[in-house]
C-alpha cells in the first residue's frame, strides 16, 4: 500500500493508523535481524503515535497529509530525547535536546516515525559498511550492499518496514542507495528543505530528501518538508509550489538531454547504459525531444568534491571534542582528551576525510587544492547553465553499477568514491536530482535512472520521473 493510499484511508477513517503501523512493525520483526535497516526501532512509540492519530480522526479532525504513514528517519537527523548516533561511536547513546525541522514537519502532518535508519558514519560512504553499528543488507540480495550513505532508509522502504523515509544527500547519499534498492530517492535543490537538526557533514552540499516506493509518494513527503525555516538561514526564502498537482502533466514538448560525461563513465555496466537509452526512448514516445549534451567540467567534479566535502567536514567535525556531548576519553589535559576522544570515537573513513580536509585547508596547500576545487565548482555551474538553456531536464545513470557485494570496495577508498561519480555534480551545483527505478541489471538487481533539473526545477523533474515510472520495464 502506498503512502498516498495509507494517508487517504486513515484520514477518511477507512483504516486505523494502529493497523497500518502494526503491519509495518510485523514486517520489521520478520526481517530486520537480516536487513539491519535501523539503528533503533521505535515500535512502542509508533503504536502510541498511531493511537493519537486514530483519536484525532475519531474526533472529526484531520491529522494531516501524512496521516498514519510509517516513516523511517535517517539517524543523522536529530530527534529530541531519542538516541541519534549518526552511525558513530562518538555519538552512541546521545539524546539530542531538539528535533530537526523536517522531522517536526512530518510529525505535524500526521506522519509516524517507526525507527532511526542506519547510515555510514557521519554520512560518509556509499555502502553503509562504514556504520559503527554494522552494515545494512540489500533487501533484493542480502549478500550485497544497499548503497549509502542512507542505506538504512532505502532498505527500510524497499523491505516494507516503512512507507517513506528521510535521508540526506551530500554527494549522492539518497539517490545511489535508492537506485541500488529499487526505490525512488530525491535530492532537492539546496535550501529547499531546512537543514536545522541535520548533523552537518559538508554544509554547502548537504540536503535532506525523501525515499518512497513511488514518485507520487516522494512528492507527498517533499511537499510536507519543503519550505522556508527561520532556523536555517540557507533555507529557501519563499514558499514552494506543491509537486503533487503536477505529476500527471506529462512530458509532451519537454527537451531532455542525456549527459555524455556521466553516461560514458569508466566501469559502467551494459544494463545501466541500456536503461538510459530505454528511458530516453520512453520519454520520446511520450512526446519529449531527446539529445545528447556535454557538461565537460563534470569530469573534474569527483576530484573537486573529494577536496571540498572533506574540507567542510574537517571543520564541521571539530565540534566532537568530548566536552559537551558524546564520548569522552579522559586525559590529564584538554588537548590530549580531545585527541584521544576523537581517535577512539571516529571510524577509519571519518578519520581519512578529516585528515584529507585538514590537509587541503592547511597552510601551503590551500591554493593548490581547496581554492582550485572551488573554481571547478564555478565551471560546473557555468556548464550546467549553458546546457539548461537548451534542455528542461537531464538524464544520467544514478550509479554506474547495480548493488555490489560486501567488501568489494572497502580496501580501496577511491573505488568506493567512484560509486558517486554520476551523482556528485548535482550537489556541487546545488541542483535537484532524483533516482527512479528503471528495469534491472546484473543478477536481476534494480537499476535507477537519474533525472536532473536546474535549481528549483523540482516540478519538471517530478513530471519526467512520473512519466518514467509509468513506462518502466
Amino acid at each position: 500500500m502506498t503512502a498516498v493510499d495509507i494517508a487517504g484511508s486513515v484520514r477518511s477513517g477507512q483504516r486505523a493508523a494502529r493497523d497500518v503501523v502494526a503491519e509495518h512493525i510485523t514486517r520489521t520483526e520478520q526481517r530486520e535481524a537480516e536487513i539491519h535497516a535501523f539503528t533503533l526501532v521505535l515500535a512502542d512509540e509508533a503504536r502510541r503515535a498511531a493511537d493519537d492519530i486514530d483519536a484525532t480522526v475519531a474526533r472529526g479532525d484531520d491529522p494531516g497529509p501524512l496521516a498514519g504513514v510509517p516513516i523511517a528517519v535517517k539517524d543523522n537527523l536529530c530527534t529530541r530525547g531519542t538516541p541519534t548516533t549518526c552511525g558513530s561511536r562518538i555519538l552512541e547513546g546521545w539524546r539530542p535536546p531538539y528535533t530537526a525541522t523536517c522531522v517536526e514537519r512530518i510529525l505535524a502532518a500526521g506522519g509516524i516515525v517507526v525507527g532511526k535508519a542506519n547510515c555510514d558514519e557521519f554520512a560518509m560512504g556509499s555502502s553503509t559498511e562504514n556504520s559503527a553499528f554494522g552494515p545494512t543488507r540489500n533487501p533484493h540480495d542480502p549478500t550485497r550492499v544497499p548503497g549509502g550513505s542512507s542505506g538504512g532508509s532505502a532498505a527500510a522502504v524497499a523491505s516494507g518496514f516503512a512507507a517513506l523515509a528521510l535521508g540526506s544527500d551530500t554527494g549522492g547519499s539518497i539517490r545511489q542507495p535508492a537506485a541500488l534498492c529499487g526505490v525512488v530517492g530525491v535530492k532537492p535543490t539546496y535550501g529547499l528543505v531546512s537543514r536545522y537538526g541535520l548533523i552537518a557533514f559538508a554544509s554547502s552540499l548537504d540536503q535532506v530528501g525523501p525515499f518512497a516506493a513511488t514518485v507520487a509518494d516522494a512528492a507527498l513527503l517533499l511537499d510536507v518538508i519543503a519550505g522556508p525555516d527561520p532556523l536555517d538561514s540557507t533555507s529557501t526564502r519563499e514558499a514552494v509550489p506543491a509537486l503533487t498537482p503536477v505529476l500527471g502533466a506529462g512530458v509532451d514538448g519537454l527537451r531532455v538531454g542525456i549527459v555524455e560525461e556521466l553516461t560514458d563513465v569508466d566501469g559502467i555496466q551494459a544494463e545501466v547504459r541500456a536503461a538510459i537509452d530505454a528511458a530516453a526512448g520512453a520519454l520520446e514516445g511520450a512526446g519529449a525531444t531527446v539529445e545528447r549534451v556535454s557538461v565537460p567540467s563534470s569530469r573534474y567534479a569527483l576530484s573537486a568534491y573529494y577536496l571540498i566535502a572533506p574540507a567542510e567536514a574537517s571543520s564541521n567535525l571539530a565540534r566532537y571534542d568530548g566536552v559537551r556531548y558524546g564520548l569522552r576519553v579522559d586525559a590529564e589535559d584538554v588537548a590530549t582528551m580531545n585527541a584521544r576522544t576523537r581517535e577512539a570515537g571516529f571510524g577509519p573513513e571519518v578519520k581519512r576525510r578529516i585528515m584529507l580536509g585538514t590537509y587541503a585547508l592547511s597552510a601551503g596547500y590551500y591554493d593548490a587544492y581547496y581554492a582550485k576545487a572551488q573554481r571547478v565548482r564555478t565551471l560546473l555551474l557555468r556548464d550546467f547553465a549553458r546546457v539548461y538553456e537548451r534542455c528542461d531536464v537531464l538524464l544520467a545513470p544514478t550509479s554506474p553499477t547495480v548493488a555490489f557485494p560486501f567488501g568489494a570496495k572497502t580496501a580501496d577508498p577511491l573505488a568506493m568514491y567512484l560509486s558517486d561519480v554520476c551523482t556528485i555534480p548535482t550537489n556541487l551545483a546545488g541542483h535537484p536530482g532524483m533516482s527512479v527505478p528503471f528495469g534491472s541489471g546484473e543478477g536481476g538487481l534494480p537499476v535507477g535512472v537519474q533525472v536532473l533539473a536546474p535549481a528549483l526545477g523540482e516540478a519538471v523533474m517530478f513530471r519526467v520521473a512520473a512519466a518514467l515510472e509509468a513506462t518502466a520495464p
Binding site: 546521545w94 531538539y98 540557507t234 566536552v323 559537551r324 586525559a331 578529516i354 577508498p413
Partner: protein, 99 residues
Amino acid sequence: MSERITRSDVEHVARLARLALTDDEITRFTDELGHILEHAADLATLDLDGVEPTAHPLPLTNVMRPDEIRPPLPRDEVLAEAPSVEDGRFRVPRILDAP
C-alpha cells in the same frame, strides 16, 4: 600539483585535526591520502585563471533575522548529555599550564 604527502605531513595534519593516530594509521593514511591526492591532481591541468571560486551554491550573503529573544535549549536537558558537569557547567581537564 605538489610533492607526494609524507609521513611527517600526516603527523602534522593529525596534530592540527586533534587525532591521536596510531603508527599503523599514520602509515596507512600516508599511502591512502597520497593516492587520493594523486587523483585530485587532474585539477592542476585545468586553466582556472580568472575563474571566481564558488563557496556556496546560493547567492546568499548576510541573511538577517529580527533580533528577538527566543527560548534557548533547555539547560538541564543539554547538561544531562555532557560527559562531565560541575555547578551547571561543562567540566573539562586542565587547560592552563597543561603539560
